[in-house]
Symmetry: C2
Subunit: 221 residues, 2 copies
DNA sequence: CCTACCGATCGGTAGG
DNA sequence: CCTACCGATCGGTAGG
């Protein structure tokens, strides 16, 4: 015996469990698979991978629980697609930055901006999964994602190295600098809230001010 | 019908599920509760709160699944104790640093060292739960932990402010500097491995070098 | 994509 | 702290 849910999910209210919302007129048969990926990314961020059931995800797009498995062979496969989408989008954004040639300091600023766009902009739920849910992938999946992450971070290395050589960045071990800067950036997903607080440009300025020596290298050290 | 597990858990091998290891001679009846807290912290770190069952935790200390609830009224309560222990230990370590009066730059270095000790030293599993599992607390529990975290981070504010005034730290918005520095430090739990890589002192030096202007403030800006 | 269901596992409890 | 168990929920499947 089914109980029809009394209210559709007002996107942000308490978690819809068990039964899908039924609003047949808003069914777009086009890309249900993408709907599932987006809903999954959002729920994984809010409740974690292990705290989200396949029923929750199906329900969020108005499906019944079993139907999710018409699109994905397992819950893992869905997480894997979320994370792949996150990394490929991050890499695409980064590639655009790297295509235009600038001095190292300008490139660093643009890499930081691009990274914040990935972390804090629309679709940031995908990157959140990349940062925090790789534990739930199997070994092969994790290797693929790790490879993409390796490509991503390697793009920063020559930029940081040049900034070290020219004295704009003060650090003995460049690889540690990259890890620390990534930490400063990645942690922003835990606290940054554009609605009440600082703008994304203030954020970028703060990172640059904190880390880059603006004056002539000769004055440093 | 019970199946006696063939092997005790060699601490780091694959997850022991369902049945406790039975090695009666190593039963210390003293503080089983603390054993549970430590085992829980370790498992929460490896598999996440939602990925760890109360059976896993009980099994890790050689108990049967139901017996855990003689010590904790719920799984939540156990997580709460893990996180409280993490924060109280971090605050205790920090307080020791703040008791000895030094100049701001030295205090910052000691705060950073203390923070890394909490994040990367023994018992770091507790702080890991604080950083990543507060989502699984109820509102009141989360408020208590947030209060402790507030106290912890407030201790950094006057130090960073003085470093700003004296030009050792270059940033327009001190609160952003603190958040970024915390990010750089906290992210280290994701990658730092003392066994293969850099020492904790190299790590501290790298943070200081990245963020602090060593020379006379008059030469800056 | 829905209906109806499976075996496994979950957090937690009663009684000893 | 163990034994034995509960109802709920989990990921996933068969048949349509």
């Amino acid at each position: 015996m089914y109980v029809i849910p009394t209210e559709p999910d007002p996107s942000g209210a308490k978690r819809p469990r068990g039964r899908p919302r039924k609003t047949p007129e808003e069914r777009n048969d086009g890309n249900r698979r993408q709907d599932l990926v987006m809903a999954a990314a959002k729920l994984f961020r809010r409740h974690g991978f292990n705290g989200t059931s396949t029923r929750d995800i199906a329900c969020a797009v108005g499906m019944h629980s079993g139907s999710l498995f018409c699109h994905f062979k397992s819950k893992d496969a869905l997480l894997y697609e979320v994370m792949q989408k996150g990394m490929r989008s991050a890499l695409a954004r980064q590639t655009i930055v790297l295509l235009s040639e600038h001095d190292a300091a300008t490139t660093l600023r643009q890499l930081i901006r691009s990274h914040f766009d990935t972390l804090l902009g629309p679709n940031s739920d995908f990157m959140h999964a990349v940062l925090y849910e790789s534990r739930s992938l199997n070994t092969q999946q994790r290797n693929v994602i790790a490879k993409l992450q390796g490509d991503y971070k390697e793009a920063w290395t020559p930029v940081l190295q040049e900034l070290c050589l020219t004295g704009y960045l003060q650090v003995e071990v460049p690889v540690l600098a990259r890890l620390l800067i990534f930490g400063a950036l990645n942690w922003s997903v835990q606290w940054f809230d554009a609605k009440k607080g600082h703008s994304r440009d203030e954020l970028i300025d703060a990172v640059i001010a904190l880390v880059i020596r603006k004056r002539s290298p000769a004055l440093q050290k």
